[in-house]
Amino acid sequence: MMNLAAYLFISLVLFLCGIIVIIARKNIVAILIGMELILNAAALNFVAYSRYVTHHIDGHIFPLFIIVVAAAEAVVGLAIVIRFFQIKETIHIDDATQLQS
């Protein structure tokens, strides 16, 4: 019998994985992937609470929005990364220093 806590635990693991990836990895693409993990963790939370607590349709609709926004965000992010790579010939995060004085 799977209950709410299991879903929340999975969501937490996903979230922490995403955070760790964002903080620890130097690859910009990996960081984008980490951000997708965080978004998915949030979406899972919505669904889990909708299923076990509110019994309402709203929580099911919200992940759809999140998936769409994540797709759009991934497009923009990857576009930035590609452009960055064209200029710098690297996708190392520490080289993204143009805005520093």
Binding site: A24, I93, D94
Partner: protein, 720 residues
Amino acid sequence: MEYTLTSIAPIVLLPFLAFILSALVVKKSDNLAVGIALSGIVGSAIFSSRVFYDFVFGVYSKGYYIHKVFNWFDLSYGDLVFKVDMGIYIDNMAAILLFMVTMVGSMIMIFSTYYMKGDKFGYGRFFVYMILFSTGMIGLTISDNLLSVFMFWELMGFCSYSLIGFYYQKESAAQACVKAFMTTRVGDVFFLLAIVAIWSVVGSVSFVDIYAALADEKFAGLAIFGIPLITFIAISIFMGTIGKSAQFPLQVWLPDAMQGPTPCSAMIHAATMVAAGVYLALRVYPILEAGHILIFVAYIGGITALGAATIALVQTDIKAVLAYSTISQLGYMVLGVGVGAYNAAFMHLIAHAVFKACLFLASGSIIHELHDHHTGGHVQEMPRMGGLRKKMPLTFIAMLLCTFAISGFPFFSGFVSKDRILGDAFVMATQHGSFIPVAILGYAAAFLTAFYMFRMMFLTFFGEPRDKELYDHTKQETLLWNRNMPLLFLSIFTLGVFYSGSFTGQGLVKVAGDRYEWFSTLVQKPHVENFKSYSKSEFNYEDSITRNFEKSHYDASHGMSADKAHHVHHIHSIGAVISIFIALGGFLLAFFMYFKKSINPWASKFAWYTKVLKNKYYFDDFYLGGLIQKGLLPMNRFFAWIDMGIYDRFFIDGWERVLAVCYSAAGWFDRIIVDTIFVDGIGAGTRLVNVILRTFQSGKIQFYFLVGFIGLAGYILTLL
């Protein structure tokens, strides 16, 4: 004819302006400075002649006075009144003195153009001092209060210092000017004390306020050190007179003051400075009277008159004889004040100023021409003169007239004035036994005056020339406007007719009638009752400056009954006859001793006394050797020891040590607390905070994210 300030102020402002201008130009041009100074004093004489005319012949001769008050400064605070007023006060006495000072001053300064011409110590510089000196005397004459009198008094003190020390390269002149200054200072200190004492009672030092206070009896019952305050004030003011008018015992400065040029001697010792002391005594006569010290004044005057006359007997320097005769004549004036011969004392002041100025100028005329070709200096010693009558006839005539005047021969000014003083002394002696010595001193001095003056005349002008070479080198006198004119002009005014229409002493007033006694009717004692309940606020500094006051009527009988007055006049007549015979006796004695040489000079018979006289009664030795060496110097050393041994050592140095400890403590506090902890500590703290904060601003986006995440997590944890 109303007086305004513009007709009075130039009398004192013109000489002062001339002083400033001549002092500015004296370095550029001597002649210009001399011209400015001369025009200053002559202009002042012209302005004062109007005042003189109005007060003697004109509208104000019946008893007005001019009084104008200016507020100098006002430091009043609440009920405490501290207001100092300067003012002009001119009555008949001041008007006459003003005219005398400016006229005699003009004559002396005209003569100075002859005497000082080409002087290597400064022809122009002399005139700068002289004009400032005249300013001081004129200002003193028209002062309305004791404070401005004191200021002008000190101004003259300074000028006399400068003039006596005019030949500043001469050691004796340098010492003489310091001596004159310091000796008069002794009297000035008492004078200042008296001013303060008067201020403390009256609240003002104006003459009219003082008269009013005397009339209102404000001084009654006040005492200081057990003596009545008014007596203390009177003695203190009279000490000022003693110092300035060279009375016993402060007479020592005047003979030494002969170190100055001769015209300045005429100025200081005849016309101005020494007269200031007597003038002050006359102005504050009501105080002297109220203080009951007139007998003291009379004795001081008598002792001075006789003592100085005796010293003059043995002097061989022509200027020294005149100097001692000046002291002697000043003694007469003070004696006159003491015996209540108010107008006679003032008349003697004027008469003496004229004939003594003339005598000094005449001696200057002689000295300037007697040029010693061996030493290059001028000759003042009478033993080297003699027979100069033929070489200098005009000087001789002027000097002879003045000698008649000073000796008290009838029909000369000295007789008119001196006889009144002696006559009043004689009357006082017949009424009060304590005044008998005063009269004797006066008559003895009169005899000696005639004797030593004619001794001087015979030694100088008569007989055979004793220094043949000097005589032959002397030029024959010709009439010079600046040499002989002042002498002859002044010698005219030695005639008694200018002072009294009756030509005689007071004894014969009844015969001649009051209307000939113009001098005596003009100058009267200030009657304090006229000023009773007087308030200065009546003046209020507005423009109306002439005021009427009821002058005490001239009373030939001195307020005595007709019988007694007749008796007194009788005594006066006797006194007048005695003084005529005394003057003749002095003349004859000198005639036989120094002209006929029929009587041997008594110097050998009275050798010890001659020695005493030559040493001026040992006053100088006593003051210098005794008072100063034995008294003042040890006292000064004692005070110096207190100052350096105790005060400096314990208080100054000890305090320094206390301060050093305080300073080192303060320095420690500064270094450790302020510098190290506050200043450096704040710097170090800032740097530490900086290091901490800098680590957060690494520029790594992931680090920022981590910090943001940890912060968010922490915030959420607090919510749980």
